[in-house]
Amino acid sequence: MVKDVLCPFCGSLCDDIRVEIEDGLIVKVRGACKLGASKIKGHDRIKAPMVRKNGDLVETTYQEAYDRAAQILLESKRPLLYGWCSTICEAHKKGILLAEEVAGVIDSTATVCHGPSIIGIEEKGLAGSTLGQVKNRADLIIFWGSNPSEAHPRHALRYSSNAKGRFTEDGRKGRKVIVVDVRETKTSKNADKFLLIKPGSDYEIISALRMMVNGKGDVVPDTVAGVAKSALEEVAEMAKSAKFGALFFGLGLTHSRGRYKNIDNALSLVRDLNVHTKFMVMPMRGHYNVTGFGQVCAWETGYPMSVDFSRGAPYFNPGETAACDVLGNKEADALMAIAADPASNFPWKVVERMAEIPVIQIDPFENPTTLLADVVIPSAVAGVEVEGTAYRMDGLSLRMKKLVDSTSPSDQEIVSNIIESVRWLGHDN
């Protein structure tokens, strides 16, 4: 039985999982939610490296796969290295080096997730804290456009609405939970107050709340995007009178009309609340190490995502250099997808482009991206078969354990080997 195992699934990065191992195989996972348990137990793996020959994927050696990948990247004039969210920082570092060497673009799944949050932070900064601060102090939790009951199942108990800490010994009973969403969810059903808003109206609702928090509520009309002013006043009052408030937001805010402006305004709201009381805000990061990629990329390049190395120095301009941009605008002429499944998660226009260009896939598992891949390289599962670093949604870094061996190389080994092949085959720029 291995204790204190980190779960390699969502941004909650729970570190109290217990795993039973027998004869080098995982037999039982205890303490994790269903999503995490499933990831740790694992499922069908890609058996061997493959390259596409005459339309079919044919098994090959790792070295051939590395060389073929290197060749694709070297021939490309705008390669995109994308994904990274489900692997460890040690692989991210290699990935950034590879992007530099092939003068390409590197981006993480933030492009379809919390990329807008990053842009919001660039406008306003982030008034945040570690999750334990919320557990120990928060008497008001707001979930906005986020449904942790389904997407981050243990968040409530470990860190937020139901957590018990030093100044919060009554747990859920000592707190108020507000949910703001466009439809009822499992999370909203357990809230003290549910604010139902229309899709795309987040920005206006936040502006109205800010006016009320700032003492200018009389300017706000009687309804805002169909929501009664009185309902908003109630929320503003609850927020102002909290001792320690925490606002968690998810894709409901990042993906709806306004995108990064929504986050921008939410960050301003929290800043306005800090005039009256203590308030913090946190994006509910989806994958367990998308935060880690942002951290590594920032300290290595100065920017947390969407970095373009075409001209030898990092260039950052989401809207132009994000993965969805370079694929959607048909700029990228080669794609390396690692530890993510772009074919499943990207808009159709973007997936279309993937079908037109050479695709290298590095992943333990088959998924829709495999159907579009020209080179497939199976990797070990980080956090289960490979130890290394991951960053929780609050920016806290922890070390994931290796539980069992794998016949596949780790992501960082694979990327290192591709770098070797790239150097060997030469670069003509």
Partner: protein, 257 residues
């Protein structure tokens, strides 16, 4: 007027970065020297004559009297006219992203449509687009306090979103629609939108935004009454009060619910 024509030799897929296509850069160079200027195709360093045909007058003149004509599809050519101080660029078709970045003078005319970040951080000069423009017209770079500070941009079609974000000065006129969040975080400048706009002036500190079509106005804006403008009657609003702003949004009609 010295006339220089640039014609693409192929259809571009991977974007081209051509900040050297600029009257300031061309003025002191012969056509042959222009052909040798650095230009980037994705991550490949090239020279202009690898990708374009350069023709026209070979007599050097001042920047002001240099006319660069872009003949063909430049929709994937970025950074044209960057840092230009004088002279004229005429694009016969579409133009790529970042055209007229940091412009301080001269004139950029686009017959077709222009890509995103047109006139980014512009300080002077004139940009006219007959077609549409993308997102972030006249805006700033990420993190920069100011976008456009001066000059004039005129779009005859519609624009994408975030028109004039972080604008500090200058003017932008759009005949068509102005997209989502025009004039966001503005601290000056004058925007006129012929069609509709969604939540203009979010977080505006100062400046004016006129919407001749329909505007969805933020709840943090305060109605001030009716005013006349160019023969129209407009609803005047003060905001963005959420940020103690003192800007004005004028809208012909209001989108409620």
């Amino acid at each position: 007027m010295r006339y220089i024509k640039i014609l693409p030799l192929q259809t571009f897929e991977v974007p081209i970065e051509a900040e050297n296509i600029c009257p300031d850069v061309f003025a002191d160079l012969t056509l042959s020297q222009i052909g040798n200027l650095e230009v980037w195709e994705g991550n490949r360093k090239k020279i202009i004559s690898d990708l374009f045909q350069v023709s026209g007058d070979d007599v050097l003149t001042s920047t002001k009297d240099t006319l660069v004509v872009l003949d063909g599809d430049f929709s994937r050519v970025k950074r044209i006219g960057e840092n230009m101080t004088a002279g004229t660029i005429e694009a016969k078709g579409d133009l790529g992203m970042h055209a007229g970045n940091n412009m301080t003078g001269g004139s950029l005319q686009v017959e077709g449509s222009a890509g995103s970040w047109l006139g980014r951080e512009m300080r002077g000069g004139l940009i006219v687009v007959k077609g549409n423009a993308g997102d972030y017209v006249g805006s700033g770079s990420r993190g920069e306090a100011c976008g456009m500070r001066g000059g004039d941009i005129r779009i005859e079609g519609s624009t994408g979103d975030y028109l004039g974000e972080h604008m500090c000065g200058g003017s932008i006129m759009v005949n068509g629609d102005g997209g989502d969040f025009p004039g966001a975080s503005n601290r000056g400048g004058f925007i006129v939108i012929g069609g509709d706009a969604y939540l203009p002036g979010a977080e505006m500190a100062s400046g004016s935004i006129v919407v001749k079509g329909k505007a969805r106005v933020l709840p943090s804006y305060q109605y001030q009454g009716l005013v006349g403008f160019q023969g129209m009657t407009l609803n005047k609003y003060l905001g963005d009060l959420a940020d103690n702003g003192k800007g004005n949004v004028y809208a012909a009609s209001i989108d409620v619910e």
